[in-house]
């Protein structure tokens, strides 16, 4: 793993505290029968913050993220996204969030610009808006020449960047990234994080789950889930101090090794 030091330009502490938090949860809980997948999650995420959501497989990350996206109804507790309630205002929430899955979720048999056009289109952007956005994204990504290339012909790193750009094409308040850097090399991952910083600088809140502990260091704050509960939540620097380790890998391991649940 190369030594990559992120140049964090926008941090949670820099963000003016006057803006209300964009994600607020209070004892958010999801049960599947007897099994409590997510147990009393309480946290807040500020506007423009990069919030890392860590946890071993089966710890409850996906369940938590699905509740926040409005895909799963919580069993109890409260949560609001961009000021909207996850129980009653899921349709409004959907307009304000973006989502990128670990599979990148692009259509291989469509061209780069057709993919942008499609995703912008289903968010209800008008045709002139879509045209403008397509041109802007292609330019930002340096993919102007590849506009008419099928996505299947793009290298993995480009697909990933395109998938991220597409997920924020409709200018959401918050974007949820579900293990967005799986399967790509460290250099490409570093470039990908540049895109994330760029988006955060423009005020987009980033909620990201990851397995890579070096990426945890890039986040403003991280939460670590163990067995459905949030075991730790703070900035990487303070977490390292608190647990007396010099890297996040050891902090995570100390917390996660006590897990009783098996990975799914």
């Amino acid at each position: 793993m190369p030594d990559i030091t992120p140049n964090i330009s926008s941090t949670a502490t820099n963000t003016p505290s006057t803006a209300p938090p964009v994600i607020v949860t209070d004892k958010l809980t999801k049960r599947f029968g007897q099994f409590i997948a997510a147990n009393q999650l309480t946290f807040q995420v500020n506007k423009g913050e990069i919030f890392g959501f860590l946890g071993a497989n089966g710890a409850g990350k996906t369940t938590a993220m699905r509740m926040l996206c409005g895909l799963l109804k919580p069993s109890s507790g409260k949560a609001s996204i961009a000021g909207f309630d996850v129980y009653t205002q899921t349709e409004k929430i959907k307009r304000r969030i973006g989502y990128m899955s670990q599979k990148f979720s692009l259509y291989d048999d469509l061209t780069v610009s057709e993919n942008i056009r499609f995703y912008a289109g289903i968010y209800g952007m008008s045709i002139p808006q879509i045209k403008e956005k397509t041109a802007q994204l292609l330019q930002e990504l340096g993919l102007e020449k590849e506009a008419k290339t099928l996505v299947s012909d793009l290298p993995l790193g480009w697909k990933q960047k395109l998938a991220f750009s597409v997920s924020i094409a409709h200018e959401p308040d918050i974007v949820f990234l579900d293990e967005p850097t799986g399967g790509v090399d460290p250099v490409t991952r570093r470039q990908f994080w540049d895109l994330i910083y760029h988006a955060a600088d423009r005020g987009v809140t980033i909620f990201v789950t990851t397995h890579y502990m070096d990426e945890a260091e890039y986040c403003n704050r991280v939460s670590i889930m163990v067995d459905g509960v949030i075991a730790a939540l703070d900035s990487p620097t303070r977490l390292k101090q608190q647990f007396g380790h010099d890297n996040m890998e050891d902090v995570f391991y100390e917390l996660a090794r006590n897990a009783k649940r098996k990975a799914d």
Partner: protein, 368 residues
């Protein structure tokens, strides 16, 4: 609305980009028609037969000419004795022999009744039945003709009747079957695969997180398949009119309407299959095994339902293609109108609504 159009446009791009599948979709009805229409024909042409005429009078000559004139029979030889007859059968030169007894003419003029002996090689029973049916028809025709001219009814052999298919053509029965089969296959398979593909790609998650309505996803997925199926329907109708000489006798409008009902029913089944299938292969297998077999076996186009065990007869009522098959036969072959098919149409419409409602409900549940 514009969101919906964006999605439908995307679905069409998927279909157009996938050349192989597209070729298969339109190749399927053509291949089926060719296969059933020509290669797997029930019709038997140019069967080699022998004739033994011991009467040798104008009537027998006339009948022999009638037999020789069609393209069903090829009179290989005329026989002089019973021994020749046996050897001809043993060598396999002929499939059937027609024998006019010596007193044939005599009987006919005096009693108005006479018999012709028809001996068929029954080692292939279906073939034997078919060609004896042909000869029966030719002789019946001859009876009717002479009755008209002579004003005197003649009885040569027992009368037989073939309703709606007087020429014993193979086509009338299989074309409605091919229609049911092709529409069912294309609709269920393409729909289920198209939806499962989104799940496999991970794009379904994105769609569910987006404000795009689930019903729009369903409509967009159904749209291309609906159009492909209607095109397929007309390909089949045109092919059978051009090459099988089988025109739609009834109202094309009614036939199209009922076909749309059947297409929508099949699309809903595809939707239902996609909800439970996790991979494209699983969806395809479910469509093939779950839909193709019941369609082939329980529709009545390969095997008559009346001959099946009661349990299967009851089960066949649940197969949508069974009702569609009846409708097509009535409208296309018999030229009957809505008064004859309203019951089947109603059953099909009920199935369509029920299946669509269930799949819509199940599809929504997945989002929660």
């Amino acid at each position: 609305m514009q969101q919906l159009l964006t999605f439908i446009r995307k679905e069409f791009l998927h279909v157009i980009r996938d050349r192989k599948t597209l070729l298969m979709l339109f190749g399927l009805p053509i291949a089926q028609i060719v296969l059933f229409g020509f290669a797997l024909s029930n019709e038997v042409k140019n069967s080699r037969i022998a004739v033994a005429d011991y009467s040798k009078d104008p009537v027998t000559t006339q009948i022999i000419n009638e037999i020789a004139s069609g393209n069903y029979f090829d009179i290989q030889r005329t026989l002089q004795s019973a021994a020749q007859l046996e050897s001809a059968f043993k060598k396999g030169n002929i499939r059937m022999a027609v024998i006019f007894p010596a007193n044939f003419s005599n009987d006919l003029t005096h009693t108005g009744k006479a018999t012709i002996q028809v001996i068929a090689d029954a080692s292939d029973p279906n073939l034997a039945t078919t060609i004896t049916n042909y000869i029966t028809r030719i002789i019946n025709n001859f009876n009717t003709q002479t009755a008209l001219t002579a004003g005197q009814p003649l009885q040569i052999i027992p009368e037989m009747q073939f309703l709606y298919n007087p020429e014993l053509k193979g086509a009338p029965n299989f074309v409605p079957g091919v229609m049911a089969l092709v529409l069912m296959l294309v609709c269920t398979m393409m729909t289920s695969v198209a939806i499962v593909k989104e799940k496999e790609l991970g794009t379904m998650e994105i769609l569910l997180v987006s404000p795009f309505k689930p019903i729009y996803i369903i409509i967009s997925k159904l749209a291309p398949n609906l159009i492909i199926s209607i095109v397929n329907l007309f390909i089949i109708l045109i092919l059978s009119a051009l090459f099988l000489d089988l025109q739609v006798k009834g109202s094309i409008l009614l036939l199209t309407f009922d076909s749309m009902l059947f297409i929508l029913t099949s699309l809903s089944i595809g939707l239902l299959l996609s909800i439970n299938a996790k991979t494209q292969q699983a969806a395809m297998m479910a469509s093939l095994m779950g839909m193709m077999l019941p369609t082939m076996l329980l529709t009545g186009f390969l095997f008559p339902i009346e001959n099946m065990p009661v349990a299967l007869q009851v089960l066949s009522n649940l197969v949508p293609s069974r009702w569609y098959f009846i409708i097509v036969k009535k409208v296309m072959l018999k030229g009957l109108g809505i008064t004859a098919v309203w019951k089947e149409t109603l059953i099909l419409a009920g199935m369509c609504l029920l299946l669509f409602a269930i799949s819509l409900r199940r599809f929504k549940i997945r989002l929660q």
